[in-house]
Amino acid sequence: MNFDVPRIPLGDWIEAGLDFFTDHFSGLTRGFSSFTRGGISLLNDGLMWVNPWLIILAVCLLCWRAGGVKLAVFALLGLGLILNLGLWDPMIQTLTLVLIATLLAIVIALPTGILAALSERFYRIIMPVLDFMQTMPAFVYLIPAIPFFGIGAVAGIFATVIFSMPPAIRFTALGIRQVPGELMEAADAYGSTRSQKLFKLQLPLSLPTIMAGINQTIMLALSMVVIAAMIGADGLGTEVWRAIQRLQPGAGFEAGIAVVILAMLLDRLTQALRR
């Protein structure tokens, strides 16, 4: 049973497509690149410049205000440990990448999600695309990022934004679609315009759902940023990567624990802010 079916050159087609993009949209990619790089170094340098203890204090205060004493104590111990292990600078680098990637993801996801909620046709187009984006193995996104942006943080951010964006889009659309029809009817009955309905009703009412999406986006961004160390996005991932190459399990786990601490802090903090 040996049919001689020629192998479909799927990979070749994709490469041709990518080449086309890099050739014709280099202006765009370069613009994005310099813009993002500027943002990264600004935020990174800023955070590095401030005394670590001052940052820890500020984070503890925020945690205490938003989530109570327990969260504040956890922040103090966790961040203290990271500082003690000498992982402060890579942690700040990772945090910078996560923040910028999340910000970009939200900027794209909110309007996309709103559009998906308001237009049935767009919703039907975008949902399979999101499924595809989320089931694709994470580091496959690293591959096109390199021809677009070269090795480094910007390529990492690009891959991270693509990987982490779907939940924010999904939850935004979901939240808006969940606004009860009766309330929309009331808004219509009193003569609201489309944008009045959006800003006075749909967005405020879906805010908790949107925040849940953003929380997931942050978590995904963090996991992706760590992986993006493979293409030169420096941070805690780089420490793990280096430990693997040098067969230093201890150092690898230390960096891993730092990632977990950061993840838990970001998670609890965004959840607390939802309320």
């Binding site: 009860p180 009766e182 309330l183 009817e185 009331a186 009955a189 009193y190 003569g191 315009t193 009412l205």
Partner: protein
């Protein structure tokens, strides 16, 4: 009386078909098929069919019908929350179905305030911010709309709750907020879709009473939907009765109760407590004869004998009721020139709206009929004991 009144909204030939092929449904309808047959043949639901009625300026019009009769569809066609398939809805010279999006929005802002069955309050806004919503979307500045919202809240008895959130309020209070939102808006017509149906009976009564008082005070044109006949009778100036998307009867509560247009209406009326609903006017008979105050005893006695009466009502030249005299009194009177001095002015009399139930008690004390008088004390008719029972029996038979 009705043709003196100004018409606020005129609904003409209003039809609504739910489905993707309204032409087919309308064609079947015009061939004389009913709702179920149309659904079977074309898969289209005939929500409303050829509805005609007028809404008078300042009246409280109740639209009543069983579940599925098309009440919600009808009220939503008025402000086009549901797009009518055919027909005209003219308000102050504007034909609503023909308006474009912008004009429709203006029309909704100017003409329609709506109160919903399940309140439909905005949960993220305070009571005041809910009440001012209609003004807010119209771009009224915040000071003015605060003032109007607070005024409206005061009218519905929610002073002091302005900053509470809707979730902190009971059902009855939430619907007061819904009402305040409608009142603050100052639109010319109030639409209420089963506004009190979700409230428990006691609160419901209270709200009905307040609505009646409010409506009498402000004379705002109100269209109120209910499936509850008691409620309709209690608050309506006029009732439009719907059945399977068609109007079966339009009339005052009195007309609907005493002269049901068909079996459907009669069945509807069945459950109502007649003694509470029927009024003196329904059981009233014309007066066979009256005496004038300047008649002499002889004339009065003659009139009574001619009409085989034992007592006679005495009225003045404007037909205002002065009282009653009996044959016995007149027989004893010697040398009296007019009967004026013999009149017993303490005779039983009621207004036309008096419930029949109240009349029962009055019959126990006296044995002569009860006079029905209007606001100017003019004699309109009499109610005799037998007529009350007869009326109740008749209403019972019909159902």
């Amino acid at each position: 009386m009705s043709d003196e009144k100004a018409i606020k909204i005129r609904v003409k030939g209003l039809t609504k078909v739910f489905g993707d092929n309204p032409e087919k449904a309308i064609k079947l309808r015009d061939e004389g098929y009913g709702r179920t047959e149309i659904l079977k043949q074309s898969g289209q639901t005939l929500g409303l069919s050829n509805i005609d009625f007028d809404v008078y300026e300042g009246e409280l019009l109740v639209i009543m019908g069983l579940s599925g009769s098309g009440k919600s569809t009808l009220i939503r066609c008025l402000n086009r929350l549901i797009e009518p398939t055919e027909g005209d809805i003219v308000i102050d010279g504007e034909n609503i179905p023909t308006l474009d999006e912008k004009a429709l929005r203006e029309c909704r802002r100017r003409h329609f305030s709506m109160v919903f069955q399940h309140f439909a309050l905005f949960p993220h806004r305070s009571v005041r911010r809910n009440a001012e919503y209609g003004l807010e979307v119209r771009g009224v500045d915040s000071q003015e709309r605060h003032k109007k919202a607070d005024d409206a809240l005061k009218q519905v008895g929610l002073e002091g709750w302005e900053d509470a959130m809707p979730s902190q309020l009971s059902g009855g209070m939430q619907q007061r907020v819904g009402l305040a939102r409608a009142l603050a808006n100052d639109a010319s017509v109030l639409l209420m879709d089963e506004a009190f149906s979700a409230l428990d009976p006691l609160i419901k009564r209270e709200m009905q009473q307040e609505l009646i008082e409010l409506q009498e005070r402000t004379r705002k044109t109100t269209i109120f939907i209910t499936h509850d006949l008691d409620e309709a009778i209690n608050i309506a100036d006029r009732i439009v009765l719907l059945k399977d998307g068609e109007v079966v009867q339009i009339g005052t509560p009195e007309q609907i109760l005493t002269a049901p247009a068909d079996d459907y209406v009669a069945r509807f009326v069945e459950g109502v407590d007649m003694t509470r609903i029927l009024t003196a006017e329904a059981a009233m008979k014309p007066v066979r004869a009256t005496a004038r105050d300047d008649d002499g005893p002889r004339t009065a006695l003659y009139k009574m004998r001619e009409n085989s009466l034992e007592s006679i009502y005495v009225v003045d030249s404007e037909r205002r009721l002065l009282g009653i005299v009996t044959a016995e009194q007149l027989g004893k009177a010697e040398g009296v020139e007019s009967i004026r001095d013999l009149v017993d002015s303490d005779c039983p009399k009621v207004g036309p709206d008096e419930p029949l139930q109240a009349l029962f008690g009055m019959f126990e004390q006296r044995n002569y009929p009860i006079a029905v008088i209007d606001e100017q004390a003019r004699l309109k008719g009499v109610v005799v004991r037998g007529a009350v029972i007869e009326q109740l029996a008749r209403a019972g038979d019909k159902s």
